[in-house]
Symmetry: C2
Subunit: 554 residues, 2 copies
Amino acid sequence: MQRAAALVRRGCGPRTPSSWGRSQSSAAAEASAVLKVRPERSRRERILTLESMNPQVKAVEYAVRGPIVLKAGEIELELQRGIKKPFTEVIRANIGDAQAMGQQPITFLRQVMALCTYPNLLDSPSFPEDAKKRARRILQACGGNSLGEAPTCQAPRREMNECSQAAPASSGGSCMRMGSYSASQGVNCIREDVAAYITRRDGGVPADPDNIYLTTGASDGISTILKILVSGGGKSRTGVMIPIPQYPLYSAVISELDAIQVNYYLDEENCWALNVNELRRAVQEAKDHCDPKVLCIINPGNPTGQVQSRKCIEDVIHFAWEEKLFLLADEVYQDNVYSPDCRFHSFKKVLYEMGPEYSSNVELASFHSTSKGYMGECGYRGGYMEVINLHPEIKGQLVKLLSVRLCPPVSGQAAMDIVVNPPVAGEESFEQFSREKESVLGNLAKKAKLTEDLFNQVPGIHCNPLQGAMYAFPRIFIPAKAVEAAQAHQMAPDMFYCMKLLEETGICVVPGSGFGQREGTYHFRMTILPPVEKLKTVLQKVKDFHINFLEKYA
Amino acid sequence: MQRAAALVRRGCGPRTPSSWGRSQSSAAAEASAVLKVRPERSRRERILTLESMNPQVKAVEYAVRGPIVLKAGEIELELQRGIKKPFTEVIRANIGDAQAMGQQPITFLRQVMALCTYPNLLDSPSFPEDAKKRARRILQACGGNSLGEAPTCQAPRREMNECSQAAPASSGGSCMRMGSYSASQGVNCIREDVAAYITRRDGGVPADPDNIYLTTGASDGISTILKILVSGGGKSRTGVMIPIPQYPLYSAVISELDAIQVNYYLDEENCWALNVNELRRAVQEAKDHCDPKVLCIINPGNPTGQVQSRKCIEDVIHFAWEEKLFLLADEVYQDNVYSPDCRFHSFKKVLYEMGPEYSSNVELASFHSTSKGYMGECGYRGGYMEVINLHPEIKGQLVKLLSVRLCPPVSGQAAMDIVVNPPVAGEESFEQFSREKESVLGNLAKKAKLTEDLFNQVPGIHCNPLQGAMYAFPRIFIPAKAVEAAQAHQMAPDMFYCMKLLEETGICVVPGSGFGQREGTYHFRMTILPPVEKLKTVLQKVKDFHINFLEKYA
């Protein structure tokens, strides 16, 4: 191993005699001196090992980037090295990463981001005026003011007035704002835009910027609020109710926090609907061994893609009210609803419409993200959380906890601002923006239907309607012989199935066991994000593979 | 409160009868029905309260954004409302937020970031070729490939060749890379650039990209590695040794993780040097009540600004080797060294120069950030962590844990790439880049000396040399009468002092008690970031305030 020349200079640190009696010789000499005292050169036992590490972290699982995806990476490298396979590329249908699958970014969003990043561009004629207007406003609002006392925007959000007050002189010119920390809770003007967006979305149900917390993607918000909620030991340990199948962030964070996971099963026979009787069963059983305090809902569902009816949401809210549960509503797919019979209802809106007994009592945190919807900006890690009926003292605790990490990425906050504040009719960019948005959502709707139809043509595969989100979670029949083969490989049967699928077709999907499923049932999650023609090929390959698999293990 | 019209549409959720016997009437009617059943409209006890919340989170303190800064925000709002004060603006000298204090961003960094954000600009003549070259390379490297198998760059880093392999077709065109998730560990090419930077910095001591983890600022890396390290209960609970004074991220994370904080005191009489005998005392005493497993070092020091000598670092490494401690080296101020007698030595380099017994055994994680140095890009939340001698199984655990949060912000990763990969001699942007860099660092050095000199002219203030970092941490004499007055206000004496300073001068600094200090001594932390002329005014105001304070409480 290359060794650097030892540099010994007198520093200005302590002048204490060496604690192990060496002279101020060169580093190399020091090293050999040490070796004289202790000849053994053998590697010592590590301090940090699987045995000594944090057991809760060790218990964490995250299938979406788990073993199957590691395997996909290996296969990709083999392909790059020219190793022959029955396919020429790996198709990563394991994660909802739209732009990685070829989706184009929304032009307007990137224009505003570029202007915020390099404000010299504000003078460039090649950027539209409405994009510049957004950028100027964000730049004037951001940074310089560490606790969110940044200038607030008096003007109603729909008119895109710039902040009516200039940033304090002490916080420098607007050209540097993207480089400053923001308030820990997020930039004021952006939180105001988020509140205005929620109010429009919910048909006038008011939203308070003070209840909005900008986050590093939705995952950050979800784990932060869970971190505050978890307490107690033994039988009074906090129980967190999550749907099965779930998005594995929930089980991972529950494990990290050493909380108790309380499963409630979605009804696959009823297009993955949530049944309150099942919630009741789950909470009753949980009370024997923990203190159920939190109820997590994912709507539209991940991985299941169901969209909850208004009636269902009312029942859930009443249940939470009755059982004194803190509600977490994961609504990151709120723009991804495809089924004509469905529409998105926010928990916040339904909560208010159920009247004051609910709207002034039920504690709710809901989450959104820049990563999904039609913009699919996963890389910026932008998101927000809205809290309802959070105790004022807890709000202080939340800001304190967030402040330890200083602030969410300011670029992600800016991206969130564009998501909630897109061009409106009459603005220069409106026409192109609308075209791009409709194209993305239209394609997703088409692909959702296509996927459902093709899967249901395959014997031994049943796929519920993809009402929303970005995934299919079909149920697959796995023959007894295949189950035995899987056991011989110490694999879950659906992991065995997905590994074979990957090795034979290059298609990477995630086994249902990574999300949870009823005992004895098998599924996989596949994104519907590949371009239509590629998706058709993918689905055809899965079909052929499955028929083949059934024959092989008949 | 505004009520929205109730929207009741048949969704496609469960058709189960209402679990609380209501008809499918309008939401409003449902609400009032509920209210009939339960007339009481009073607010119920909250589920999440100070009493019920996570006690570890409740115990967290973070002074850098604590009460004094909340007060500063209030005062700013009062000034905005035109309320008269003995000053016209609040000067936030509480946090190392360079650009908020007027520092200009490095042009080259922002140019590359803009190009990555909006690749249409790659055709613009107004951007230099070397910036475009960097951007193309980052864009080709990022995203599309969820587990870090993104194309690796074969070319030596100093020649800025573009990645020699194209990204897989499945991951779309390069124009969308900033919008995709990256590998959980960070983009491959950027990790390679970081490794190349470390190798240059350390005079040839090799760095392995596989040991580099890109993070969401350094704070994220530090808390992640601590999260993995903490285990055990009672007397075998993990002890984490931290300097006093410390940067409060450490105490906050230790509290969150319910680990045991083990204090070792820096030697104020010896310009805040680290003395290994003090480490020995601390670890021996700690062994009675916990399992000391981690030793945290901040070099250059925050808040103390000392730069450790090579000799001191050797002693610390030997101590860690002897006591079997996992080393955390917080080196985010490695570019911020001002004293001509000092230079930065990385723990990694000294570790290697001490010979194989150390370089193959001592476990080390070191941290860097885009937020400090001369670029001061706090908003992008970019950073990296290099791990040495980490057990291979633990590396897997680390990637698994990181993957739960998907990836660090890709924009922050790109910013990190420019920080470790700036223009070199011969490149178009080199001259301007060097000018900007020298200007920032030259000014900081000037301000460090200025601050030390002026503070030491004030009776009752002693300030050690500001060898590095961005802060002064002067010791202040607080008269007995002032201590009594503070106690009457139930405040720490230095909090009382800083509150008075804020109220009378508008200058916001952080009390020493927020960082820790020897019993009976008092300090505050002030950044040296304001522009020179403003800094002079600030220091003069502090001087006048202090003299006044001494007289008042004599």
